[in-house]
Symmetry: C2
Subunit: 423 residues, 2 copies
């Protein structure tokens, strides 16, 4: 079994997800069913399981190395608390990850915690594994108790749905207001003596629909068959998340359930670490941009690259402030080359700037330099601001640090979706 | 000459500005004319002048104590740089403040600085005062040079327009996209022996229209006839600004020209400092809320009060984060009692929180307490979220610090105004 590779665009980031779902790496099987948490017949329960099948006739014990980056929000949903505890108790060696959509089990007090614990205990009993080897997350309405009876009733069918191969059912079962499932995959090939070895990194995500019912969640799961200790896996995950999910914003809010999980089945052997790091980063970045592009009311992308920062944190701070400025984001929606707003956002980023050396450009065309507007060709400038993604660059000319942040135009449809929804 | 007091609403903050403009305090005259910076016939040049007339037959030298709070943006417009220098050179003893609308003179390089300097030199010559005793600001399009010839040609007419009394012409001449002029006033009365003394604090503001042409500016001028050293005046101004203009947000962006000036004519004698502080705070707060309520696409106000903060900075940080959250602001527009979004915004404020003791209420009705949603009456809750101003309170139960932040619902009209404008 090998994964279906996606075609790389020049910057590694396709605008739309590949239409054919890639395969999970070796050692994983997954399933998804409709448990009646959402409306009848819609998949709302997903399971990823360490199958122990190496795909080459060999079998392992199905143990998975695990790592996770959880929401920075201090209001943390019950399943996150339960998963965090299990990661510690199991020394990050787990067997299964269960995710339900339709109910976030957040702001549900002690009863919510009890129901998340019962989810993992019942699943563990169904699968015949220790309950400490199960991770759990939930996404959907907050402030409503998890329908635990429906979940428990559905667990045998969930187990029966497990199979290796395509990640499609899993990706679809964790969707909330997403308009399309999100997946990405990379295959790494290298030679060991005269033998070609391969390893796969495949990820799925559900994104940034924060509307229905009260708030949803960003959840991503990135898995590989590379052989990694939990600590090595954690390093790859954190490095990739820092360059992807921590560099995007749709509305500046983080949810109570946001999480990115990483799992490795350890059946592909030791993979060249640099190649693995690049694959993790590419998969995470592709998923993160899919989340932005499927954000509520999305019309046009915004990429802000900052060069010449005195420090990394300066460069990030300017990139983030410009990318999140409401005035810049409305200008992007309008296709309006309003460099004054970019300048003003950079100026309030809390970073030392020298307006007389600062350069601002869009789509490669200089707009502001040497303290004054340039005389850029208005037609070319307009073209840069009506592109599918507006690419803004700022050169701070203060040092050599650079960073990038992705966002999107703020649209009337975004306001409509979020204002017209009634609890 | 006495000022027209405004009627105080219970919290000191009327929803709309009084229809009759108050008077400037004694010792000031003002004027405003159309100089052709904006379209013909529209006032765009305003002058406030220390007349030296005490209004009781006595005359002073017209010298004014001055103070100013300027934009925190590092991209600072030319007039701000020139005014900052003059405040230093004159030891904050000035005679005149000139403000033009229609052109911000920002991002205009050395030539822009030269034109702001020429504005104050020409005005000084026209009025027969030292150029170091003039302050200047500009508001309007950025990246365009100031039409200095038109301004110079208009200065004799501007001088001729000077008169004591109503602040209306001045307030109207500094407007950009404001739909109405903004003013506020308080009269302080106290007894000295058997004599009743009075002092007036009157302010005007222009607000948060950031649309036309590239970006506008928040400018406010608050003046009094109280006798104050520049340093005492500065103290009153900073304290008032901290509780008003630094507690509001329409779109999170600060402009290159934002400024609040304070001037005192020193002809009312020493005023009880507590009363003066309260009057400054009330005037500044009233003006700041008028700016929010005249913000682009305004439909419904949002007030976020935080109690029980461990520190003042914690309380402010939570109030600001909730008040500026796009998801909370769209819920306010939709009249949607979406306490989950309030909770999530508080949770990402970067402040230590205990979800099990945190209380959230709206319009006095508890929505979330003891880690769980309350069973509040849905009709009453809906009423709180469809009020003219949605009043959210959070009790962090971590200490005794409190703070407040004002914003407004994010509307489709806001996006439309800012997206559909073409540079």
């Amino acid at each position: 079994m090998t994964a279906t590779p996606t075609t790389l665009s020049p910057n590694g980031i396709p605008s739309n997800p590949p239409t054919t779902a890639p395969h999970w790496p070796r050692g994983f099987s997954s399933g998804g069913i409709a448990a009646g948490i959402k409306k009848p017949g819609v998949n709302d329960l997903a399971l990823l399981f360490g199958s122990g099948e190496f795909g080459n006739g060999e079998f392992g014990n199905g143990e998975l190395s695990a790592a996770a980056v959880f929401t920075r929000n201090l209001i943390v949903a019950a399943p996150i608390q339960v998963s965090r505890a299990n990661l510690a108790v199991s020394s990050a060696r787990i067997r299964a990850l269960i995710i339900n959509s339709g109910c976030a089990n957040a702001a549900t007090g002690e009863e919510g915690l009890a129901r998340s614990r019962r989810t993992i205990e019942s699943l563990a009993a169904t699968l015949g594994i220790p309950s400490q080897s199960v991770l759990v997350n939930s996404t959907g309405v907050i402030g409503v108790q998890l329908p635990i009876a429906r979940i428990e009733k559905a667990l045998p069918a969930l187990k029966a749905s497990l199979q290796p191969g395509s990640c499609e059912t899993f990706a679809r079962s964790i969707m909330t207001t997403d308009t399309r499932p999100k997946w990405a995959s990379r295959i790494i090939r290298w030679m060991e003596g005269t033998t070609e070895r391969t390893c796969t990194v495949t990820g799925v995500a559900k994104g940034a629909g924060m509307i229905h019912p009260n708030m949803a969640t960003m959840i991503s799961v990135i898995v590989t068959d590379a052989t990694l200790t939990p600590s090595e896996l954690d390093g790859h995950l954190r490095s990739a998340v820092e360059k992807s999910f921590h560099r995007i914003s749709v509305d500046g809010d983080t949810s109570t359930n946001d999480s990115v999980f990483a799992l490795s089945s350890n059946c592909a052997g030791i993979v060249p670490p640099n190649q693995l790091a690049l694959a993790f980063e590419a998969v995470a970045q592709e998923l993160a941009l899919m989340v932005v592009r499927d954000g509520e009311g999305f019309e046009r992308g915004l990429e802000v690259r900052v060069h010449g920062g005195r420090t990394q944190s300066d460069a990030l701070q300017v990139a983030r402030t410009v990318a999140m400025s409401l005035l810049v984001r409305t200008a992007v929606t309008g296709g309006d080359p309003n460099w004054g707003r970019i300048l003003a956002a950079a100026g309030r980023a809390g970073v030392e700037l020298n307006p007389s050396t600062l350069r601002v450009s869009a789509g490669g065309i200089a707009l502001f330099a040497a303290g004054e507007p340039t005389n850029a060709d208005p037609v070319a400038v307009r073209r840069a601001f009506t592109a599918d993604t507006v690419r803004i660059e700022l050169d701070l000319a203060m040092g050599v640090a650079s960073d990038v942040f992705w966002s999107c135009g703020l649209t009337k449809r975004y306001v409509e979706i979020n204002a017209d929804y009634t609890t």
